[in-house]
Amino acid sequence: MTGLPTSPLPALLVGFPILLAILTLFFRPGVKALVGLAGCLLTALLAFIAFVEVTQRGTVIHTPGGWDPPLGILLRMDALAAVFIGMTALVGGFISLYAWRYLRAQDPATGGYPLFWPLWLFLWAGLNGLFLSNDLFNLFVTIEVISICAVALAVLSGKAGALKAGLRYLLAAITGSMAYLFGVALLYGSTGTLDLDHLGQVLEPGTTTTFALLVVTLGLLIKMAGFPFHFWLPPAHSNALAPVSALLSALVVKGAFYILLRLWMEVFGVGITYAAGQLIGLAGAIAVIWGSWQAFMQTSLKLLVAHSSVAQLGYLLMIFPLLILPPGVTADSADWLSVTWTGGVYQVISHAIAKASFFLSAGIVIMAVGHDRIESLRDLVGNMRITSMAIGLAGVSLIGLPPSGGFVGKWMLLKGILLSGQWWWAPVVVAGSLLTAGYVFMLLRLAFAPAREKEPFRPVPKTLEVVALLLAVSSFLIVFPADYLIQFLENSEIFGSGIEAVLKGGFYGND
């Protein structure tokens, strides 16, 4: 990693939100929200600056304390990290705006859940830290920061349902973290290093490595709610406050996916086989079908959206089997690799935006009608034009219909599937899309249906509606920079040591 330009930005990306989080503690609730919001917007700004920096200068690094790995920790901001950070900033920025107005409206007595702001800023810092980190243990710390923030945010409403869901979430998260950390311990024991690049070079196959790989993977799968470990997600996401649900679904679960992607692509070359990839893909496929079906069967709005997240995360898992070459295939002839992984990343972004918008809209609806039964959507179109548009657009993006971002993501995924010859995933994508269409249009159908009994829609702050709509529109607008983003990812030196080594097929002899 030497030779790459250093930049203070990675450090700032983590430090700055935390500084702001600390600052907010000093203010009265009302002011706290303002300071928090300002902080969020500044953080987003910082993230964009950093993103631009990477587009200009390529990968930049930062070594806190000035110590090089393996003893020190390396923060590396490459294209992948930059994209994730940018995504967090975009979605997070919108959600912050929304939250500012929403929380005040929900809880005017105490100035709108003042703890939201420090927690959210901490969460943001944690996410940035995670995306930047190049160190196994540091990753653990960041995911713990994220987990605690996420759960704390999830229980912010203080309702019993939220608390129970939160505890379930927290225990699952801790279990996942501990499994991950056990794997890290074994890896450290085997190699004496925690640095990802270094580890990828020195890791040797063997039971220990395999076992470590497995517990790390499974731990992360628990944290990203991959099937069959999605048990915590629907209750937690559906019981949280609307902006929190959006944050959790859009950003938090992506953290674990990010690590998984990095580890599998950069580090675990020696351990994984084609069949293992297939298994992960299978889990993803089941998640797609199961989650979509469950979403389709829900009668409560937020549970529906939450189950939809389970399914959408399944899509992300489905890129793993494609990224692992079957025996006898060399990376040179595998033309689907870059389309698959960039497509997966793109899918992450589009899902984040669409799902955030979806949750925010759901929050608006619930605020307006006072409950979250799906029936409440009746005649939504007549009463809340903007929100129904937001739901419609976000839903369309989730289904993956053109010209949404979800479409580009799904397009690339499907193309990867077909190019790689692993056609058996294609029906899953199709069925998933159909079921997604099923639940999205179930909502829209109700939105167009006439109201049964006259349940008045309470007025809702316009800001909320506009933010949700803006996000929904963004899920379409991201189609425009898609080409740029994908090129940016493809041309960068991501997975520098890892994917090259992995993809050259060198480590695939054992299957």
Binding site: T210, V215, P228, F231, G271, T273, A276, M297
Partner: protein, 586 residues
């Protein structure tokens, strides 16, 4: 220009007549005036035109036989138009009548002057469908029934026709009608294609066995409409046949014999069945079928190959001309006896008598001349059984005379008005009388070759004045008339029904309808059962709805999800996942 006027004027007349206020005269003049360009085209030879902008590039031109028929048609439409003007003066639906009348006229003219398939078919269809409005005009149940049967038959005919045209055009490689007969002669599928056309146009011609609609539809229409239906439109089918038939180019024994024998079947069958009718118009309709049989025979001869088309086709046209004018005269004449009184009745009866004679081929009429054309060609053909056919032809004069004298008898029974009255529509009738079948002998109509072929150097008048011929014609007709008179005179021999036809008009159609009703009822029931069956078969989406909307499904899936949420099962999932992955990676 004149070509387009021929079509456009009737169309304009049709639309204009609709808006003419009720009770006003003048629609007759408008309709008659609209036929003038056609009349002009029939009389004066005008070179053809091409209209590249019309349909799929249209050609309009006339050859001799079609010009003869156009003339006939124009005369009939003009007189019928005039006739209708006063005949239907007080009819509530006069406007509608004029509308359909005009449209039909346009179609009829158009199909005659068309020289390409597309425009021919277009006008043919226009005529077919527009005449539906004429048939149904009275809106009585019987008219409705007749009209609907007509429509069904017409559509069946159209289907055969379009098939024939597809095949013909394909084998000819050209849309020009003139190219079709040679192509059919060449093509191995020629006979088949012609057979399709035979059926398709046969409906209009009223050929056996497709004539059922005719005795129902022609009488149902008002008199002027019946006149054009039976006099002019029926000839459209004949023209169609003539367009397809490769006369003189082929020797299709089977088709030739088929046409000749079907023709004679019509000649006798229709004549005899017609005797049982009490409605003079039905009687006439059967006569039309019978007469069209003669023309079928003529064309059938042509398919045997030894008669050149330049001779045969004009001959057919001439026969058609004679029959057309006379038949129209008689049809319109059916409206007269109830309205014409006093001295005018003499004129009426003379006219009617002339018409009857002309159709039967009586002495000194155009019918004598045209029938001898048939005889000539029957004599010349080498078709097997020609001699028998000749005999039959002679015999047909008897049956025709019998049938038409029955017609006169039926008219005679109509009570005459008192006083010396004649309705306004008597005048056009007289005009038509004047424009009768004699014209068939005018040099203006007769192609030179045909004339010289038949009458040699002696000329037409000599032929026409030939005593022996006239005598033969006379006595054969007399036999028929005498039989009629004899049976009428002697009460105990008089079997002629007067109130109710002993057999219904439309003959076999009733059997068909009866059989059809017997079959249709269960069939319809079966189909509607099938339909309801189809309707009750859930589409794929319905099946999905049933599954997804059922309570049970949601119970099962929420139970399954609840199970997956239990920590034990998460643990089991963890270990299963772990173990499989571990085994895979080992």
């Amino acid at each position: 220009m004149i070509w387009f006027l021929t079509i456009v004027l009737p169309l304009l007349a049709a639309f204009f007549a609709v808006f003419l206020p009720a009770g006003r005269r003048g629609s007759g003049f408008i309709l008659a005036g609209a036929a003038l360009p056609a009349l002009w085209l029939g009389l004066v030879e005008v070179s053809g035109v091409t209209a590249p902008w019309f349909l799929m590039e249209s050609h309009f031109s006339l050859d001799t036989p079609r010009r003869i028929i156009l003339l006939l048609t124009a005369i009939l439409w003009a007189t019928a138009g005039l006739f209708s003007g006063s005949y239907l003066k007080d009819d509530a639906r006069r406007g509608e009548f004029s509308f359909y009348f005009g449209l039909t006229m346009a179609g009829n003219f158009g199909l005659l002057i068309s020289a390409d398939v597309a425009s021919f078919y277009t006008f043919f269809a226009l005529m077919t469908f527009a005449s539906y409005g004429l048939v149904i005009h009275s809106r009585t149940p019987s008219a409705r029934r007749a009209a609907n049967i007509y429509l069904v038959m017409a559509i069946i005919g159209e289907l055969f026709l379009i098939t024939a045209l597809y095949l013909a055009v394909e084998s000819a490689g050209s849309m020009l009608l003139a190219d079709i007969p040679p192509a059919l002669a060449e093509s191995p599928d020629g006979p088949f294609i012609f057979l399709l056309g035979l059926i398709g146009f046969g409906v209009k011609v009223g050929a056996i066995p497709l004539y059922f609609w005719l005795p129902l539809a022609h009488p149902a229409a008002p008199a002027p409409a019946s006149a054009v239906l039976s006099g002019a439109m029926i000839k459209a089918g004949l023209v169609g046949w003539m367009h397809l038939a490769p006369v003189g180019l082929v020797e299709w024994t089977f088709l030739s014999l088929l046409m000749v024998s079907l023709g004679f079947t019509a000649v006798f069958g229709a004549a005899i069945y017609g005797l049982t009718q009490v409605d003079p118009k039905a009687n006439l309709a059967y006569s039309s079928i019978s007469q069209m049989g003669v023309m079928t025979v003529l064309l059938g001869i042509g398919l045997y190959g030894d008669i050149p088309p330049e001779l045969l086709l004009p001959a057919i046209a001439l026969y058609a001309f004679n029959h057309g004018t006379a038949k129209a005269l008689l049809f319109m004449g059916t409206a007269l006896p109830a309205k014409v009184g006093g001295a005018w009745r003499i004129l009426m009866w003379v006219g009617l008598g002339l018409g009857v004679l002309s159709i039967a081929g009586g002495p000194l009429t155009g019918g004598l001349w045209t029938k001898s054309l048939v005889k000539t060609f029957l004599g010349e053909t080498s078709l097997p059984g020609a001699q028998t056919f000749m005999l039959l032809l002679k015999l047909s004069a008897v049956t025709t005379a019998l049938l038409l004298s029955r017609f006169l008898h039926l008219l005679y029974r109509i009570k005459a008005p008192s006083g010396n009255v004649a309705p306004a529509f008597f005048l056009p009738w007289v005009l038509l009388l004047l424009a009768g079948g004699w014209w068939t002998m005018s040099p203006g109509l007769l192609p030179g070759e045909l004339l010289s072929h038949i009458s040699g150097a002696k000329g037409i008048m000599d032929f026409f004045m030939n005593l022996q011929k006239n005598w033969t014609a006379f006595w054969t007709i007399s036999i028929g008339v005498i039989i009629m008179a004899f049976t009428l005179k002697f009460t105990h021999l008089n079997v002629w029904p007067t109130k109710k036809p002993s057999l219904p008009p439309g003959d076999f159609i009733h059997l068909i309808l009866f059989a059809g009703a017997a079959v249709a009822k269960p069939l319809r029931k079966g189909i509607s059962l099938l339909e309801s069956g189809i309707q009750s078969i859930p589409g794929p989406e319905k099946i999905f709805y049933i599954i997804s909307d059922s309570k049970r499904t949601s119970r099962i899936s929420s139970a399954a999800e609840a199970l997956l949420r239990r920590w034990e099962f998460v643990g089991i999932g963890f270990f299963i996942f772990f173990l499989i992955l571990f085994l895979v990676l080992r």
